[in-house]
């Protein structure tokens, strides 16, 4: 016999799983998403009267290590004040001891969903340039993202791009204060990171270790990251992921199922190949260099990844000045036609 309706049961289950925000300035509004180590809720900041996103440590996966990691993610975000990176507003602890942080609630769509509305290649490339800018900024601040993929990029209603989910971020150069105050990876955690098992995929396609630490996403992970050679990771590792992201942007298919040669123009395919080179030394040295090459392609200028021949140069010149070229051609054709007509 059912004493409660299904709807009531569902509500009860939801309420039981909801975090207790008493003692904080936030009022829970609704569940948004579940990630590798945290659950994201929409909440209202009762002091500033604005909506924020709360990332709260998942009660299922809660552990001191993950709590430190969430705190570390918040502190990394606090360092990255950039229009292309979601800003963090606050960090705290709930009554049940779980760590949370409040960030801007991004009202937009994930990049993979947003791309269904954009069919123009230049528009996609301009969007891509903004992603590269945000990642380059993080690199300049000494931080690697390590999990760049379409699901971790949001596009706002005004075309603003926000790189999300810095839970896997890593400091490029560990500084004394980082070790002391930012709860950077302990040797034990770093060792755990190397035991990635592709069998342990989650719904958001990131790979988890047996201990629940996200490592990266197949197809977007550079070989050195997939092998677990964490000491080899540097900004070129994110360049690989950016190359995979570019390939996804241009083909609409995940990098593991598409090849740069398939349907892309040669310079774009060369850019993807260079960014995704297996050897880090063959990749672009930085996200800025990659973005600059894409910008050059957009401006019909030669790209560093693709040495072009005479015909290629001529084609690019014509493409760059196509209207002027067509006008000159029209002038010549009209001249020839007039000549033929008045010769009769």
């Amino acid at each position: 016999m059912n004493w409660l309706s299904d709807d009531a049961l569902r509500r009860l289950r939801s309420a039981a799983g909801s975090p207790d925000l008493s003692g904080t300035r936030y009022r829970l509004l609704e569940f948004v998403a579940r990630g590798g180590m945290g659950v994201v809720y929409l909440a209202e900041d009762s002091v500033l009267r604005r909506r924020v996103a709360l990332k709260i440590l998942d009660p299922v996966a809660s552990s001191p290590g993950l709590a430190a990691r969430l705190l570390r993610e918040a502190r990394i975000l606090a360092r990255l004040e950039h229009p292309g990176i979601v800003p963090v507003h606050d960090v705290g602890t709930l009554a049940d001891g779980r760590v949370f942080y409040a960030m801007k609630f991004v009202e937009g769509r994930r990049l993979d969903h947003h791309l269904q509305q954009i069919h123009s290649v230049p528009e996609r490339l301009r969007l891509y340039g903004k992603i590269c800018e945000a990642v380059a900024f993080a690199h300049a601040r000494g931080i690697l993202h390590r999990d760049l993929k379409p699901e971790n990029v949001m596009v706002g209603p005004f075309g603003e791009v926000l790189v999300m989910d810095w839970g896997l971020a890593k400091f490029l150069h560990r500084q004394p204060e980082d070790a002391a105050t930012l709860l950077d990876e302990s040797p034990a955690q770093t060792a755990n990171d190397t035991v990635a098992t592709p069998a342990a995929h989650t719904s958001d396609s990131s790979v988890h270790t047996a201990h629940g630490s996200i490592l990266g996403t197949p197809g977007y992970m550079p070989p050195e990251q997939a092998r677990g050679d964490l000491h080899l990771l540097d900004q070129r590792s994110d360049v690989f992921a950016l190359g995979a992201l570019l390939l996804y942007l241009l083909t609409g298919n995940p990098p593991s199922t598409s090849s740069p040669q398939a349907t892309l123009s040669r310079p774009l395919a060369a850019i993807c190949r260079k960014a995704m080179a297996a050897d880090p030394a063959s990749r672009y040295p930085s996200a800025s260099d990659l973005a600059a090459d894409v910008a050059r392609f957009l401006d019909s200028e030669p790209v560093s990844a693709y040495p072009e021949g005479l015909f290629g140069k001529a084609g690019r010149f014509i493409s760059r000045h196509r209207i002027a070229f067509l006008l000159v051609l029209t002038f010549l054709v009209v001249r020839v036609l007039l000549l033929l007509v008045f010769r009769r």
Binding site: T330, F331, V334, R335
Partner: protein, 123 residues
């Protein structure tokens, strides 16, 4: 000033090229030098007008339209002067290509003639 100079030089080049086409007309081939020079001067005057117009009007379409109209009008006036020796008029040859030269001149001036700072920087 850059745009005006650009339009004048481009006008001279396009006018000269347009005039060189007279080589294919046996009737006037003997006066090729004069035709090239006059055609060049004609296009330079149009270039000057287009360049000055482009300094004040920043939008591409009005610049192109002005260039075409100015070039057509000037070409019509030139074509209306009969050849002193034969008395012939060459409306089609002069006006048609004059219009295209105007189109080229207007497009190139707004596209390649350099940008103009409407507001001086405060730095």
């Amino acid at each position: 000033m850059k745009r005006v100079l650009f339009a004048i030089v481009l006008g001279a080049i396009l006018g000269a090229l347009d005039g060189l086409a007279a080589w294919f007309e046996p009737d006037v081939r003997s006066k090729l030098g004069m035709i090239v020079m006059l055609s060049s001067v004609k296009s330079m005057i149009v270039g000057l007008a287009v360049g000055i117009f482009a300094v004040f009007v920043k939008k591409p379409l009005p610049i192109i339209l002005f260039a075409v109209i100015a070039s057509l009008a000037f070409a019509w006036w030139v074509a209306s002067q009969p050849d002193p020796d034969t008395g012939k008029h060459y409306y089609a040859q002069i006006v048609t290509t004059g219009g295209i030269v105007g189109l080229l001149l207007g497009y190139a001036t707004q596209r390649y003639g350099g940008k103009i700072d409407a507001v001086p920087s405060r730095s």
